[in-house]
């Protein structure tokens, strides 16, 4: 009996100590983040997923780094110069940097990274195509490399700041093999890998020898939670400190704001949403009809009511952060009377039927399109909405030119360059351009790619945006914000537009 009491007492004591230790660890700073998806591999060449970048931005560095404000600054390269009329870029590398396992970073690592990306290993994955402009990398000395380009890629320096261009450790990969690297990533970033349980979580800890600003928090855990309601419940229960986009649906913003210890932080997002017109068939062949539809839909009202104001109107298929965005190009106003007149001129009978094809995976866009159909009803066009499963829509409907009069276009290039979407949407023969054949537009799209001067290229891109808007090739809708759910114990948090969220500045209570 006495022993029993003693054991019981010991047990209590141990529990008490454990609790104390647990709370100490808490004060030492663990940040728990919810991310919507497990990319399955942490290898930079393997994935296109935003959910990969959300974590990997803390593990790896690129030669360049793009700050949350969009400015491109030095990363593992301290400086660079463009040579041979843009066909060669020389990078001077940062010295004294080591990978998480102690392996030194140098020119060899850079060469290895890009040979791997552009070689057999990269060929199996989706990232290679983004770096097709690079021909090869030559080592000049231990801390200088030259990138030889096949063609000028004005967006290359930005692309070097993310995804496939993250610098990986050659010795580590050669020693442990590709499979091991997929699940045990090593980079030079502010946090290093601790453990990974597929579909459940990945844990990182502070890398003490990071070359830049060392992390405030000592541990960084990402839990994969696919269901937004669940992620928000975890935030409310205080078990998660930060919900990454797209984890907070607009409908739940109010729920979070109601709790005093939680807050909602937003940044303009990378994606833009539009309904494109079938310019080859049906009533939307007529430019007047297309303009009438744009004029007939009150886009600002849709943003205010359905998106809770967490979006910006757009005039072309790009956000305000995009290179090629023109602040002077404003969207067509909401003018249903003018819309009706234009339809009448075009000889469209009231009650004409048309179809809007969209993907079924985005609740707020779905609602927005229902509102669009409602507005079209008011200018006496009867629109029916057809929902498709995403993969089917992207594979069998759009590229095959089987859409209705209007169809969804939603893209978010993390590089924020208008070329990244415009070329593929408007150039003749491109997969994502099933309908338009316009030699003049083709020429504009091709020629801007050859321009190395930043300002000249910007005005070329702006001219394209204006041309597309003048010909009303799409019904531009909005650019939604990225919404982060945050516990107020987290300080110094700066939201980013593209989920490439580096958390070394953040601290926790």
């Amino acid at each position: 009996m006495k022993n029993g009491f003693l054991n019981c007492f010991r047990g209590l004591l141990a529990t008490g100590l454990w609790l104390a230790a647990a709370s100490l660890a808490h004060a030492g700073g663990t940040l728990t983040v919810s991310s919507a998806q497990d990319p399955g591999s942490w290898d930079p060449v393997d994935t296109y997923l935003v959910a990969w970048a959300a974590v990997a931005t803390n593990l790896y560095d690129g030669l360049t780094y793009r700050q949350p404000d969009g400015r491109l600054v030095a990363g593992l390269a301290t400086s660079w110069e463009t040579l041979d009329g843009g066909k060669r870029i020389r990078f001077h590398l940062r010295q004294g940097v080591t990978f998480h396992d102690g392996e030194p970073f140098n020119a060899r690592a850079v060469k290895f990274t890009f040979e791997r990306l552009l070689g057999d290993q990269g060929s199996k994955g989706p990232q290679k195509s983004n770096y097709a402009a690079i021909d090869h990398v030559a080592i000049i000395d231990a801390f200088t490399v030259d990138f030889y380009l096949k063609l000028i890629d004005p967006v290359l320096l930005t692309k070097l700041a993310g995804y496939g261009a993250m610098i990986v450790p050659p010795d580590y990969i050669e020693e442990h093999g590709e499979d091991w690297f997929n699940s045990h990533p090593i980079g030079t970033g502010p946090f290093k890998f601790v453990s990974y349980e597929p579909k459940v979580e990945i844990s990182l800890e502070r890398f003490e020898d990071f070359w830049g600003t060392k992390a405030n928090i000592s541990r960084l855990d990402y839990r994969f939670i696919a269901e937004p309601a669940t992620a928000v419940a975890e935030l409310q229960a205080g078990r998660i400190d930060l919900v990454m986009p797209p984890g907070v649906p607009i409908g739940m913003v109010g729920t979070i704001k109601n709790k005093p210890e939680l807050e909602v932080v937003t940044a303009p997002g990378p994606s833009v949403y539009a309904l494109r017109f079938n310019t080859a068939r049906g009533i939307t062949r007529d430019e007047r009809v297309r303009k009438a539809m744009i004029l007939g839909v009150d886009r600002q009202a849709i943003i205010d009511s359905i998106l809770g104001g967490y979006a910006a109107p757009i005039a072309s298929f790009q956000s305000a952060l995009s290179f090629g965005y023109d602040p002077d190009l404003s969207p067509l106003p909401y003018d249903p009377d003018l819309a009706r007149r234009l339809l009448k001129q075009a000889g469209i009978k009231p009650g004409t039927q048309l179809r809007i094809d969209i993907r079924n995976n985005n609740a707020s866009f779905n609602e927005a399109v229902q509102a669009v159909a409602g507005y079209l009803q008011m200018i006496e066009l009867n629109a029916t909405i057809k929902l498709y499963e995403s993969n089917y829509f992207l594979n069998d409907i759009v590229p095959q030119g089987k859409t209705g009069e209007l169809f969804q276009q939603a893209w978010g290039g993390w590089t924020f360059d208008y070329d990244n979407t415009a070329y593929f949407m408007y150039h003749t023969g491109e997969k994502w351009n099933p309908y338009d054949r316009d030699a003049k537009l083709d020429k504009m799209l091709e020629s801007q790619r050859m321009i190395t001067d930043r300002d000249q290229r910007q005005s070329a891109l702006r001219a394209i945006a204006k041309y597309v808007a003048d010909h009303a090739l799409e019904l531009p809708l909005y650019n939604p914000n990225e919404i982060f759910g945050l516990n107020r114990r987290v300080h110094n948090f700066t939201p980013v537009p593209d989920s490439r969220l580096r958390l070394n500045q953040v601290s926790v209570d």
Binding site: S129, N130, A237, N391, Y392, D396
Partner: protein, 307 residues
């Protein structure tokens, strides 16, 4: 018994080949995994897609792909996930115990609740207890499981803070998903137990048992329950299959890392190897449960054994 088992095994083999063949064929009808990997990105050319398809082994003829899947099955090698290349066997090894523990706990809760309640309702037929149980079961039937799940999270995790809202971390995280599934199963089961019991209670041997002067408890549990066990066990067995189907929603809401979650993601991403493996494992599971049910017949009802 050996002959019976052998016959069952052959049937199982046939069912599995049929199921995997249909699934492998159907998932290839729409969509393209290479497109899913590249997220429909603009910069990806048709040549890039072709390259990725080749790396994934997708440009081989369907039957070559299917046969290599079957070959892998024999050595328990399900291939690699298209998303990230994790070996599928690794994913299954994590997800199967998660789903099994959830499914079994739900079944246990459902049986523990529905058998006594069903008997009570049968005995008190037409009285207030019967009415109350029937109304509750009707209400239980009408709840969608995701609604019940959300309400439980709201009450027990957010308001009271007693249970974790999601994830799989120890016993406390099992309670809400298991109860959600269990309550919904109970709603159907109660009605079944009640009906089966009512039928049994009208049989002559019950009258005999009562006439012998046996206590009500002995009459109900020894004579009554054992005799209505056969239809109930069949039902519970069948229900297990349906339960595995319904578990997808509950797993997703509670972020339970089981087979349902795995299958859900695999369908969305056209991750053929993962989906084929999950379906194979699930059909094996259902076949096994049915086998157990058949064997249980013999144990409970001597008449089956004689035949």
């Amino acid at each position: 018994m050996a002959g019976f088992l052998l016959k069952r095994l052959l049937q199982a083999l046939f069912v599995m080949v049929a199921v995997t063949l249909i699934v492998a064929f159907a998932i290839r009808l729409t969509g393209d995994p290479a497109l899913m990997l590249t997220q429909g990105s603009a910069a990806v050319t048709e040549a890039d897609l072709e390259r990725i398809r080749e790396a994934l082994g997708l440009n081989q003829p369907f039957f070559v792909q299917y046969l290599s899947f079957l070959r892998g099955l024999v050595s328990l090698d399900f291939g690699r996930s298209f998303i990230g290349g994790t070996p599928v066997s690794q994913l299954i090894a994590k997800a199967l115990p998660a789903t099994l523990s959830l499914a079994l706990s739900s079944m246990l809760i459902a049986i523990a609740l529905s058998v006594p309640l069903g008997i009570k309702a049968a005995v008190a037929r037409g009285k207030w207890a019967d009415q109350l149980i029937r109304i509750c079961s009707l209400a239980g039937l009408s709840f969608p499981n995701f609604w019940l799940a959300t309400m439980m999270v709201l009450v027990f995790s957010i308001t009271l803070g007693w249970l974790p809202p999601s994830g799989m971390s120890g016993f406390s995280s099992l309670i809400m998903p298991a109860v959600t599934m269990g309550v919904i199963l109970t709603a159907t089961n109660v009605r079944l137990v009640r009906t089966a019991m009512l039928e049994t209670l009208q049989a002559q041997y019950i009258m005999v048992a009562r006439a012998k002067g046996l206590g009500e408890r002995a009459v109900l549990y020894k004579h009554g329950l054992r005799n209505c066990a056969i239809p109930l066990i069949t039902w519970f067995g069948l229900q297990f299959g349906a339960l595995i189907g319904g578990i997808v929603v509950v797993e997703r809401v509670f972020n339970w890392p089981g087979l349902g979650t795995l299958a859900f993601d695999a369908v969305a991403a056209r991750d053929y190897p993962v989906l084929q493996a999950v379906i194979t494992v699930l059909s094996l599971l259902i076949i096994a449960v049915n086998l157990v049910v058949d064997i249980a017949y013999g144990l409970i009802d001597p008449r089956v054994r004689v035949r």
